[in-house]
């Protein structure tokens, strides 16, 4: 028992020092800078258009777990579900030459990409699914990004603990060939728990960077004035890393 309290005491001292460092200005900026170094290292080590692995149908998980928001609790959304999302619109706006509002039919008529990929949650688990939809790059090129656009913000219909879900990526991830606006999972229309009718797939990043219930794609110059300013719901709310590639 004595040894145990010694270990616990030593660990408390160490933990105290760690929390002092984390709370200090230099400490917290160092902790956040490390995330940036990982992003830069990943980018330096792989070609821009290098792909994550794609699997075969045999690898598909029997059930694709829904996590985070698994429904949207509004009458409006329930009406969309009842109506098979016939009136759902995906807005493309912000720093683009031609703002657009795409219907589900518009999205289905674009060239499609189907990919069987692994979804990795920040918690640690993985599920494999087959996603189908147009590449985000096709939509962004059609809208015509302005020179001043640096980030793409994804707006969502769902709320968690009263705040609107949103996410963002830089243009490198937005223009990646495997970044698609998925409307199908495993050959069927997206189930509600997985983000019906539209979900972003950003395959080189963790699950929270793959927002569901997509309502708008917004090109912006900076993330500073968007919601909490950190580029995403979990980033604002709990300090999650903006670069979710690790």
């Amino acid at each position: 028992m004595k040894r145990r309290s010694f270990i616990a005491g030593t660990s408390a001292l160490f933990l105290g020092a760690c929390s002092k460092i984390a709370d200090s200005k230099i400490g917290s900026s160092l902790l956040h800078a490390a995330d940036d170094w990982h992003r830069k290292a990943h980018r330096a080590l792989s070609a821009r258009k290098a792909l994550v692995r794609e699997y075969s149908r045999a690898d598909i998980s029997p059930f694709f777990r829904g996590n985070g928001s698994i429904d949207v609790d509004t009458d409006e959304y329930r009406a969309h579900v009842a109506n098979n999302f016939a009136d759902w619109r995906l807005e493309v706006r912000g720093l683009v030459k031609n703002p657009m509002a795409l219907s589900m039919d518009n999205i289905r008529q674009l060239p499609q990409r189907t990919q069987i990929t692994r979804h990795d949650c920040v918690e640690g688990w993985s599920a494999i699914g087959e996603w189908t939809g147009p590449q985000l790059s096709i939509i962004l090129n059609a809208a015509g990004l302005l020179e001043s656009a640096n980030f793409i913000v994804f707006r969502c219909a769902d709320t968690l603990s009263g705040a609107q879900y949103y996410e963002s990526v830089d243009l490198i991830d937005a223009m990646h060939p495997q970044s698609i606006v998925a409307h199908q999972l495993n050959g069927e229309n997206l189930p509600v728990i997985n983000g019906a009718p539209l979900r972003m797939r950003i395959e080189q990043q963790l699950g929270y960077k793959n927002p569901k219930y997509l309502t708008a794609i917004e090109a912006v110059a900076s993330l500073d004035n968007i919601e909490g300013g950190k580029g995403g719901y979990w980033e604002d709310r709990a300090g999650y890393q903006w670069y979710g590639g690790i």
Binding site: S19, R39, L51, R118, V122, W125, W234, Q241, I246
Partner: protein, 220 residues
Amino acid sequence: MKRHALSTRIWHWINAVSVIILFMSGLNISNAHRYLYWGQSGFSPDQAWLAVPRFPGWATIPGYYSLAGARDWHLLAVWPFALGLLFLWIAMLTNRHFWRDIRTSPTEWHPKAIWADIADHLKLNFEHEGAKYNFLQKLAYGLVLGVFLPMMIFSGLAISPGFEPAAPWLVEILGGRQSARSLHFLFAWATFAFFVVHIVLVVLAGPIRQIRDMVTGGKE
């Protein structure tokens, strides 16, 4: 000549701090999803080969459950850890520390010699003539430096989706992303087991001299 080279001493302490932070923040991350799987995917307890116990706050960084906070620490400490290990290997191979002190010879693998070594350890006889380290020490240091710590880095890279396009083969040779995650966990505990034995033996062999020599270098 010093007992420990400057490069070894600098690495030792940077590594000690990094590994402790990585291990304790890793326990916090483990609490986020306490199931381990083999293969590429897995997300529910019925697919798991192991349900990991929940680690208490005094053993984790931060001292309360925070996946975001623990990941901050983990992703920071991995830089001095990985670059430090690379530095040590370059230093060990160039200053001959590896070839002279850690590499084993075939005769040392003879069962009789190994038994004699174990018997010496059990008698707490830490005098060994000639070579700097006895066989068990060489084996332990060789395993930690050559297998456990590098495996922590490789399995960690393999569970990062953003690293995957750079080296998809890494995920494959480790048996899939969830296998890599299981290996990350197993090698973390293997490293912890070494840490415990290392501390116990330092205490038994005379902790003040051992720690002093790892700071000042000591005398051969």
